[in-house]
């Protein structure tokens, strides 16, 4: 089909975050991962002894675990890891006033389209540049109510007890090879605490930017949503396109306490040479409500399965996942829900679009433990294939140990229907516009949940991708 050739030409090469900011970091650890690097990171952060020990133990675990054999192609990763910098410090200390952020870093975030006006509608903003949070601010009204929104380093310094109670308990170091790696070299990320009953009516937002070549970013986020509290956290990620590969491996730990509600939104738009291996997990107590909204548009390979552990009666977990894979991209994403208490409910909705030589994989686990009676769950995966060279896979795991449970899984794969196209074009709509409309309709259930600026961004991307794709 001729349209396939045109559509292939488009690719994601119009990646708009491809710019490099000049500027010297104040400190950069040596290349690769070693005990020395781990000690240097800990020393730079002036950490207590227990954290250094925690990191060194994690390094040991990391070294003892083999590379995963499943998921994406990790064959070239070991070589990449030898060449990257695990720790790059862009400025001396974190700023709380935007004016004090160094000019070149400020410039970067302005270019990313995070203008002052947008920042004002948020409850709090954090920005990470290379290995450190360079900026963190929280509106006074929330600060007065006891909300904590800080860099993870400041969380450890200023709230040592709260930090130590939860850090590393939701995702143990030994959970997987990359959670162990993160535990050894973590730097940056947010520490969030929402006190009992406080509900934030606007989101907290964090931006992650990798600017340097051969850089590894290892943010670590810990979020505690206390009883009856409500909040929404958004993260966005970008990086310039280099000829060498970069690496990002975050660990996000969340605890949603009794009757609390929390939503975590990710819009990942890393450049196409980024390995993105992230572990995200939330523990949900009785009556709690956790939502993951996971958008994966960028990176070379993403392996990421946000999970909800429903530990208390009536807890609810939701995962909405959208993936786009263009040439050279593999999105191996999905979600995991573990029902460990009665009357728990969950839903996973995953939509993927594969184009050119892109590959999208849904991988998920749905587990109902014995005793989690009256558990209800539904999983839906839909994949759209644009070209005959695109690929999609679905690997759901369903493990049910409780007879009084109802779970379902449905998945479908399709291409853009000729009939749908014909219908729209017969109504006078040009073909490429019709195609974009169909794709937009396909992802609509998820796009409508996105914050406005991201929804606009996603729609714009799809329009760009479909332009001239038919005909």
């Amino acid at each position: 089909m001729p349209q396939n050739e045109t559509i292939q030409d488009l690719g994601l090469d119009q990646y708009k975050y491809d710019f490099i900011t000049e500027g010297k970091p104040v400190y950069r650890a040596q290349k690769g991962l070693s005990e020395e690097v781990v000690r240097q990171i800990s020393a730079h952060k002036e950490e207590p002894e227990w954290m250094l020990e925690f990191r060194l133990k994690a390094l040991e675990i990391y070294n003892s675990k083999p590379m995963p054999k499943w998921g994406g192609d990790l064959d070239g990763l070991e070589q990449v890891l030898d060449e990257i910098y695990f720790y790059v410090r862009p400025q001396d200390r974190m700023q709380h006033s935007w004016d004090d952020v160094p000019e070149e870093i400020k410039d970067t975030f302005e270019k990313l389209g995070i203008p002052e006006a947008e920042r004002r509608v948020l409850a709090g903003v954090g920005a990470q540049y290379e290995s450190e949070m360079v900026y963190h601010s929280l509106r006074e009204e929330w600060e007065n109510q006891g909300v904590i929104f800080d860099s993870i380093e400041d969380g450890l310094k200023k709230h040592p007890d709260l930090f130590r109670e939860y850090f590393g308990t939701i995702i143990p170091t030994a959970d997987n090879k990359f959670s162990a790696m993160n535990s050894a070299v973590w730097s940056g990320g947010s520490f969030v605490y929402i006190p009992k009953g406080v509900s934030l009516d606007t989101p907290l937002q964090a931006y992650f930017r990798v600017n340097q070549e051969r850089m590894g970013q290892f943010e670590r986020t810990l979020i505690i949503v206390d009883e009856g509290a409500q909040a929404h956290y958004i993260e966005g990620c970008t990086a310039p396109v280099y000829s060498t590969e970069s690496f990002h491996s975050g660990v996000i730990e969340i605890i949603v306490k009794k009757n609390a509600r929390f939503r975590y939104t990710t819009i990942q738009n890393w450049s196409n040479n980024m390995y993105n291996l992230v572990t995200q997990r939330a523990i949900v107590e009785a009556g709690g409500h956790m939502e993951w909204l996971d958008g994966n548009l960028g990176s070379k390979l993403t392996m990421k399965y946000p999970s909800c552990y429903l530990m208390g009666e009536g807890a609810h977990g939701e995962i909405l996942s959208i993936a786009y894979s263009g040439d050279g991209q593999h999105q191996d994403t999905g979600g995991k829900v573990v029902h460990a208490a009665p009357y728990t409910t969950s839903s996973i909705v995953s939509k993927s679009i594969s184009k050119g030589h892109g590959r999208s994989t849904y991988r998920g686990l749905l587990k109902v433990h014995e005793g989690a009676h009256h558990a209800r769950s539904n999983v839906e995966c839909d994949a759209l294939l644009i070209n005959d060279t695109s690929r999609t896979d679905t690997y759901p795991y369903i493990e049910i140990e409780e007879s009084d449970a109802n779970v379902g899984h449905e998945a479908s794969v399709s291409k853009i229907g000729e009939e749908q196209l014909f219908y729209l074009t017969s109504r006078g709509i040009p073909e490429d516009e019709a195609m974009a409309m169909i794709v937009r309709g396909f992802i609509e259930p998820i796009a409508k949940e996105l914050p406005l600026e991201y929804a606009v961004e996603l729609n714009r991307l799809i329009e760009l991708e479909m332009e001239g794709s038919v005909g």
Binding site: W70, E370, A383, L385, I386, N387, D388, T389, S390, R391, T392, D393, T394, Y395, P396, Y397, I398, E399, I400, E401, E402, S403, D404, A405, N406, V407, G408, H409, E410, A411, S412, V413, S414, K415
Partner: protein, 452 residues
């Protein structure tokens, strides 16, 4: 290297006092050279292949180190029974009696083919139905072409290799071009040797535009020691042929049933399968349907009902390698007691297999708190003009349906029975074969009686 050292690296795993190179040689005595070589090669593969562990995706939920003790097994030593129904076990005769008409019969008792008959007209038209042993002598060419070559060669895995090396007997069914069998071919097997290992093969070759339906039923009493029955099934449907393969497993407790099935459908062929698993302690079926020519189609049906501590494991794959092929899988099961079912299925659509229609559905009904079901319906799609979907559900008995029936005056037990048979009945209604439906329904009803 010592045996222990070799075991550590996976070599020589599963080589026991009974299962070893010497046994392969003894079985080979008197066989043609090509077959002796094939067995020796298969044994070589077996020795080199490590025993599957739960670290392999395909064996994730069936731990062989706990479920199977190869070292305790001996090869079956039973003498062949005479070809005389009066000398056969009563259960075997009862089972056969329930069958409706047939084009031909094969009876296998303790691994020996003791009886074979075929309608005279069909025999005159060139249909072949006989023991594999006999076919090795009389139809060497056909066997050399098909036996353990394309469909289930030794390289397919540990069990495929073991079977290819040690098979004692089996069935050969050949249907010439254009010949159609109105009535099914019926095979009935009886096993009685506790602690034995049985290895058999089935080879079905349906030439272009032929039609045949084949029903293979295995029955036994309970065993007091673990008893292994391993079967390799190779079904080839040439262009335009229509083949139905049905396996009904009604073994007693103590049995470990292992069946490796491959179906190869050429252009415009229809190759449907039905696996019914009701008995045995452990039942493992590996079914791979290959759609090799445009227009080929496979319906794949499965039905299981577990109780006690039964363990069922179905590992299926639907391989679409050519355009315009179809496959539709439906596996449904009910689980009572502490029983457990694993369904792992995959649809693979290879590049270029455009206009594939492939579906896969697995539904489980959990009847007791101790029952467990794991379902892994996978898709790997590398062509864009396809219609593929899969679905899996695990749930309890439909309370509304039960309530409806009870409000109409049915007892709880009657209502439950009706809901369960209705649930499972969908599978049989898609491949209704006289005899099979009644027998299966009766076993299900018996199991449901134990439930209440």
């Amino acid at each position: 290297m010592t045996t222990t050292e070799m075991n550590e690296i996976g070599l020589m795993e599963g080589v026991t006092e009974a299962l070893n190179a010497g046994a392969v040689e003894r079985i080979s005595i008197g066989e043609p050279e090509w077959l002796r070589e094939r067995r020796a090669h298969a044994w070589d593969v077996y020795e080199r292949t490590p025993m599957p562990t739960t670290r392999l995706e395909e064996w994730r939920y069936t731990d062989l180190s706990k479920k199977l003790d190869l070292s305790a097994l001996r090869l079956s030593e039973a003498e062949a029974s005479p070809d005389n129904p009066d000398a056969w076990p009563a259960q075997l005769r009862a089972t056969m009696k329930e069958d409706h008409g047939a084009s031909g019969h094969i009876v296998i008792i303790d691994g020996h083919v003791v009886h074979a008959d075929l309608n005279d007209d069909l025999a005159a038209q060139g249909v072949i139905l006989m023991s594999l042993h006999e076919a090795v002598q009389s139809h060497g060419g056909l066997l050399q072409e098909h036996l353990a070559t394309r469909a289930v060669p030794a390289e397919e895995g540990k069990f495929a290799a073991l079977n290819a090396a040690l098979w004692a007997d089996g069935i050969f069914l050949y249907v010439p071009k254009g010949v159609r069998l109105d009535l099914p071919v019926r095979v009935t097997r009886w096993l009685s040797e506790s602690g034995a290992a049985y290895f058999s093969r089935v080879l079905i070759v349906a030439e272009p535009n032929s039609q045949v339906s084949y029903v293979d039923e295995v029955v036994s009493d309970d065993f007091d020691a673990q008893t292994l029955t391993s079967t390799a099934v190779e079904v080839v449907a040439r262009a335009g042929a229509q083949v139905q393969y049905v396996a009904v497993q009604r073994l007693g407790r103590g049995a470990f049933y292992q069946s490796e099935q491959r179906t190869l459908a050429d252009r415009d062929a229809t190759l449907d399968t039905l696996n019914v698993a009701l008995g045995a302690s452990v039942s493992r079926v590996d079914l791979n349907a290959r759609l090799l020519g445009p227009g080929a189609n496979s319906d794949m049906l499965g039905l299981y009902f577990g109780d006690g501590d039964q363990h069922f494991d179905f590992n299926t794959s639907q391989d679409h390698t050519e355009p315009n092929t179809g496959s539709d899988l439906l596996y449904k099961g009910a689980l009572d007691g502490e029983s457990r079912a694993v369904f792992r299925g995959i649809i693979r659509v290879l590049p270029g297999a455009q206009r594939t229609d492939a579906y896969q559905t697995n539904r489980n009904l959990l009847l007791s708190p101790g029952a467990r079901a794991d379902s892994l319906p996978n898709l790997e799609i590398e062509a864009d003009d396809v219609k593929c979907s899969h679905g899996a559900t695990v749930g309890e008995l439909d309370a509304d349906a039960k309530f409806y029936l009870m409000s109409r005056g049915l007892s709880r037990v009657q209502a439950e029975r009706l809901v369960v048979t209705g649930f499972l009945g969908e599978v049989l209604s898609r491949l209704p074969l006289g005899g099979v439906v009644e027998k299966v329904n009766r076993v299900i009803e018996q199991k449901l009686l134990n439930h209440s």
